[in-house]
Symmetry: C2
Subunit: 416 residues, 2 copies
């Protein structure tokens, strides 16, 4: 991007005019006075969601009552939503299902992977992985005792650390803080060479990047419904199990919805052979209805084009910050190379917390991640190039004016 293009808002207006995805923004409710750069924490509200959930409540539940499990195919919703997520991540429709939370699903997949590698005890991950991923792995270790050893290795050491003791490598494809991508194909291939499985957390990937789990040879994966999939606060999570593992992978959470015949009400658990085995309890229908409305915002979207737009937004954000906020102490904390970056951009600053609070007070909503990271999510489905321009201008104002030093933006104590 030339200096000329960074010098005025006009070129950003032009890029919006030329954006083939621009009309997708119309599918979302975006409040006035806000530039929303936190869609990777909680995706924005699709316009269709309220009506969809309202219909489920008033018509399906209120009028249909318990009959709607059949008449409105509530019972089929987890697999139906999975089949809709599948093309977004390069999976087959019968390889994905929606269930529980990402934390619970990670527990299932890791216990399942250990069961597929009974002679191996090492689970390999990285320090600084998203905390709940590490916490769940620690919980598996505490529960299974000597059966499991959790090893954390840094990015430059991890590939070499995959060895014949490794049962599974468990990583988040796009890092929640830095947006750095793991080379998924390379790590998966390395795991397979050593006889290990790879479990990928796609929470910051699904709905933003063009993924092809089949091309990668992925074994097991999971992801979040409430970030780029726009499923609403605490939306249920999705699970991917490659067809070749579906019959062998045992879920430790063997609830009735994973039974071959749940409504026969027999005493003995007999798991279904399908992806439905990853279900546990009764599916939460309101959450599923909202998630379906969120997934439906992707109908007809070319994921390659979507990823390209996200990368262009990120490139523009970085270039603008460096061109216009160069006087500040902001330090880029994400890869400069878009091919190594997810759909958000992070900067570090010693006053990161206060700066983010001051931005939010001005209507530019990003996220802060302790201890010093300002995170800007650049959701390609509903953000404009002019949003990037306007956000960086606001950031420049906040930094130049020093308004972030106002006591009302000071960091509060962490909530326990």
């Amino acid at each position: 991007m030339t200096d000329n293009r960074l010098a005025s808002r006009d070129s950003f207006v032009e890029r919006d005019a030329a954006d083939p995805l621009a009309s997708r923004r119309d599918g979302f409710h975006l409040p006035g006075g806000v530039i929303y750069l936190d869609g990777n924490s909680l995706g924005a509200l699709p316009k269709r969601t309220a009506a969809r959930v309202g219909a489920m409540i008033e018509h399906e539940w209120g009028e249909g009552l318990v009959r709607s499990w059949n008449t409105h195919d509530w019972i089929g919703a987890p697999a139906r939503l999975g089949a809709k997520i599948a093309p977004l991540i390069g999976a087959a429709p019968d390889e994905v299902i929606v269930a529980d939370s990402t934390s619970v699903n990670l527990f299932k997949l890791v216990c399942g992977a250990l069961g597929l590698r009974p002679d191996r005890r090492v689970i390999l991950s990285e320090p600084g992985n998203f905390p709940t991923d590490l916490y769940v792995l620690q919980g598996v270790g505490a529960l299974l005792g000597g059966r499991v050893e959790l090893r954390l290795r840094s990015r430059d050491e991890l590939a070499d650390a995959i060895d014949e003791q490794t049962a599974a490598v468990v990583l988040t494809h796009v890092h929640y803080k830095t947006a750095e991508r793991w080379p998924m194909a390379e790590i998966t291939a390395r795991a397979h060479q050593r006889g290990a499985l790879a479990v990928w957390d796609l929470s910051h990937t699904a709905g933003a990047l063009a993924l092809d789990l089949h091309a990668v040879g992925a074994d097991l994966a999971l992801g979040c419904g409430y970030k780029y999939l726009n499923g609403g606060p605490g939306a249920p999570s999705f699970v991917y199990v490659a067809k070749r593992w579906q019959e062998a992978l045992v879920s430790p959470l063997s609830g009735w919805m994973g039974h071959a015949a749940p409504f026969d009400f027999v005493d003995d658990f007999e798991p279904t052979a399908s992806i439905r085995r990853q279900l546990c309890g009764t599916p939460g229908m309101l959450g599923l209805a909202a998630l379906e409305a969120g997934i439906d915002t992707f109908a007809g979207v070319d994921m390659v084009a979507l990823e390209a737009k996200g990368m262009a937004l990120g490139d523009a954000f970085i270039a603008l910050v460096e061109a216009r906020c160069g006087f500040s102490e902001l330090m880029l904390a994400s890869p400069r190379d878009a091919a190594r970056r997810g759909s958000h951009v992070s900067f570090r600053h010693p006053d990161g917390y206060a700066i983010m609070q001051a931005l939010i007070a001005r209507g530019v909503i990003g996220d802060f991640r302790a201890p010093d990271t300002l995170r800007f999510g650049l959701t390609p489905l509903y953000l404009r190039f002019t949003d990037v321009w306007d956000a960086v201008e606001t950031l420049r104002d906040v930094l130049a004016s020093g308004e972030y030093r106002d006591p009302r933006f000071a960091r509060r104590a962490a909530v326990t």
Copy 2:
């Protein structure tokens, strides 16, 4: 109840007129032409639910976006709802929290109970317990291998089977099929005498019976949000952990919401000391909003009076069926003594499936449980005595006319 009172609908009209809980029905949307006797499978829709969930979607999510985790205290919802459920089951406000599904919560509590009894390996339950409870116990057994032995003992053998090998007794207080109650205080005391813990599934209890977990000396319990609590299809579940166990009980599902400081984003899991330890992933807010509206239908309800009404409805149902359907092969499958019964009544019939389908076609919605049980839920919060009369009259018509033999009511193959 005298024969005279069973001879005409008038006495039922009088009982409704005298019912101090009668006005509670106004809090629910109940479709015309339907008598809903399946509130113990899916509770009816509270009138306030649609507006509450709509406000969360359009105002809190749509306008507030990610800020609503704080500004609308989404993050506090699981504990807030737990505190509202607590008085319904005789617990302290800080002993109950809402999270995940009943199946997942049972997994947590059973693994936790095993951790509290490291030298014991036996989990004791009954054959014919609700299937997902048994399936989850089998899953714990499969995961932990020789560490666990699942023993199933019938009602008359179970108390004596609690011994020094028993880590935990896991039972459903009110049986999903027969409505038979376990003597909770007696079994819990017996478990404690032998050094074991008792884990109670309250799915068919909470919101229908007057429970006092403290008086019972209960250790751990869980229950369903979508039955008598009216939380909507697949509503989240609740967990009770007696204060004395909260610091010692380890959840195997150690997700970030159970961390002492989840937003510090540190690598090591440090569980909070509070009931919040039973949380795992990010709470599903739409499901929580609907559940809160459901729980709020109990505000100001005297649970002793509520239980008494449910028992009276059940007594009337049994007496009417026996008085007016005596010509049929219906056999009472629930305790005749209301003190030993939950808030539903079941009958067995060789053509049970077809009879229930014929009833549903006539607008009397009950439930069928394989192989031959007709189940009638008698939700005291919104059912009338005249509903009982009208339902039994319809049952009599269906039986007397033989219309249930119509091929359209024949049993379909089980879905796999």
